[in-house]
Amino acid sequence: MSEKKLERVGVYVCHCGTNIAGTVDVVSLAKWAEEKLKHLGVVVAREYKFMCSSLGQELIEKDIKELGLTRVVVAACSPHLHEKTFRTAAKNAGLNPYLVELASIREQVSWVHTDKAVATEKAKAVVAGAVSRVIENKALEEIKVPINPNTLIVGGGIAGIQAALEIANAGFHVYLVEREPSIGGHMAQFDKTFPTLDCAACILTPRMVEAGTHPNITLLTWSEVVNVSGYVGSFHVTVKKKARFVNEELCTGCAICQEKCPKKVIDDVFEAGLGYRKAIYTPFAQAVPKFPVLDKENCTYFIKGTCKACEKFCPTQAIDFNQQDQYVDLDVGNIILATGYDLFDARRVSNYGYGRLPNVFTNLEFERLSNAAGPTSGNIVLRDGKTTPKSVGIIHCVGSRDKNFNNYCSVICCMQGLKFAHLVHERTGATVYNFYIDMRTAYKAYDEFYQRVLEEGTLFVRGKVAEVTDAARYEHEKGKLIIQVEDTLIGKQRRIPVDMVILSSGLQPRHDAKAVGKQFGISCSTDGWFTEKHPKLDPVATMTEGIYIAGCAQGPKDIPSSVAQGAAASARVLDKILQKEVALEPIKASIDHDKCSGCRICNGLCPFNAIAFIEDDQVSDINPALCQGCGTCVAACPAGAISGTGFSDEQIMAQIDGLLFRNLLPVEA
């Protein structure tokens, strides 16, 4: 150890304006590093206002060239922000970029402390840790892998459709996988869209048709991804195409089978339980693709062995009762997850009576009620199917902004509630009450819509509804639903009797979001939404290279934002495709076969399936192309046979020694 030649280390302390310099004495920190860390190899320590500026970078580059630095420590912000900046600077000056370490004295020091003396001491420790660590760093080379130009998009809602069209129009192939029989997603269920009151179908279906007929898009509806392996540039995906019992080659989409099928089934999915479909069906008239799906659970033939009405009447013999699930293997370079949301189950707020009180409706039910193509042809009526309500209460924030359910704001509910108020008013002339906590009408033309609804005479009550009940206390409440609420603007409890209640239920992550996230190797936030790489600057990328997210899968959002994210994700994918190859971070785990005794503890742990067991040699091995450098196996290996580049024991122990000031020369008394 003692004979080891000293590295030549440069330390660069950033003021970050006053972000760091306001709390850390940057001048004395640099001076301290130059004096007290000299024996570790520090030959220069400088401070500068903004190290990340081109002048700051030039400072480092100049020192590397002129002082012959072999290691660089930049004491600045988190590596998330500027590690790449300084690595590139080092590279420009001829130093291997992996010989640069960032000491986070902003996020981990100045932003979390107020006492300048203490913060400066801690900054010293962080810098000493980084210097000790960087000495143990090894020069690494990036790994280049080719990019397969095909893309998989999971989820055929508006976000997925938008992304698919962008990529397909750019000339690259897309596989669009959708779990339901048709693409279109939630948007296809809506009647009008806020704030312009465009007919949702009128603006959506042309996009659906375009996606369905595009030569560069392969639609895989009634399908689910069952397996994913590989890495950016070369993912291998297996898709299960559930049996439709309809031969897509022969079917013309004439819908005679649907007409002739004798079995009516309540449509819980598309019609939100308000209408019926047949056992063989397309969810709606403009469905894409046009091929129906036969619902085996409800089909009379599958239950009783006779019927086959659809087969008899099909003019092209397209019905195939023997069809089996198929598994399709796809090779793709990038994946976009646009899997959307589930509606919050309003039954959970039992005091609002949904499921118990017939005339309490969910937002999705109301969308179907007001939809011209819906079960009531757009007539807004009570559960009996004929009575027009004279008064309607719309409750916002059901299951959202509520500590008992979801803390977050579901974003779309205020505008949706206003849209409902407008539609009720326009079609029934009923008195409409909106119960809200805060009215959130940000974004273009949204608040103008609120003003319009106000002018239409909708009544607004600011307060969280306590209860919806049919237990009347007064004569005028009899036969009505009574909304009990504290009107916080007048500071009084109110009981408001209405004929109909609409619950603006919030959005929730898909029930299987966690499992899907695991399948694709990405994580979910504590709420369950897919986690983006950076909440502000990288909202559609994920921590896993080559996997992107768009639309409500990432968090609640309206249609314009979903479309924008779909387009943004596709831009990121096109960027990757056009680069033709991608450089992977060389942070990888590897197994020393001499030390590995094949205990197989690591075998089941790799989230990226990069570990294989070699039977002949009785050792485990890591495929470096699959390894993402997460370190799970490194931590688990009991024999210490697995090491992770960039995170070796030597590096970590050296950093700890530095942090604890254990490797400082004895200070004079």
Binding site: K595, C599, I601, N603, G604, A635, P638, A639, A641
Partner: protein, 336 residues
Amino acid sequence: MTAKPKFAMYWAASCGGCEIAVLNIHEKILDVDANFDVVFWPVAMDAKYKDVEAMEDGSILLTLFNGGIRNDENEHIAKLLRKKSKILVAFGSCANEGCIPGLANLSDSREIVHTAFNTISTDNPNQIYPRTAFDVPEGEIHIPNILPVLKTLDQVVDVDYYMPGCPPESHQIAAVIDLVVQVLQGKAELPPKGTVIGAGNSTVCDECKRTRNVKVIKSFERIYNMQIDPALCLLEQGIPCNGPATRSGCNARCPAAGAQCIGCYGPAEGVLDYGARLISAFASVLDAKEPEEIDHILDGLVDPTGQFYRFNLAGSLLKAGVPAWKAESTHEKEKV
């Protein structure tokens, strides 16, 4: 007649098993006698410390030192033998990593003495405790002072080679003696300083004949409680076998006999903390997701320290429990 090179062996805080293991090499012991002049070996022959003190520095070629450093006598002899020896070998688990005596590092030294002299199994009605110094007409007499924590040999002096095992396997001792004899005859070279000798470089699993599959632990079992599959990896049967983290060299004798490896050969090459490695390995393959399920499975490990640090506590990153560290700062010699 040219003088034979000198050999010494010493026991500090240990059980004597290492000495027996040396004798257990059978007729090979004659090679030791043929090639060495045994100058100091308290368990085998009479000797006085002052004789060793009188020896020239570096005059002993090879010293096998077993036992941990528990008291100031151990420490004194460790330093003395270091000075007098060309090659100092930490011999056996105690000298290497503290072993069973090292488990006392969970308690402070007064607590240890108290336990020894004042438990219900001890008949000590007058509460008599040993004193380290006592005046008699002839002068003051002493017994060694107990140190606050047990230290491994290399925490006290510079060590040339490490020979693990509790005790080291006799065939490994024989092999090392063969090697030294060959070095003496100029037929072989000594390994680099700091090398672990008389052991393998991988883990016990490497020598274990049991079949291994992808691991999933549903529960931890104890061997007296179950029917053991003779061919399957013990860990996969829920028996907390330390083999995956333990240095090879013993021919996996315990697992072969149906008992789990308890880790006497210490950490594998390059492992910083044996117990931490094992904990993270076991935890990685628990078949549970919910905290309660995980707790339930881990409750099956009745003695976590004994499981993960039976041999390695003194040699681990933490080295001791909190009471022992506190004792270090407050320790003062007992006065008469």
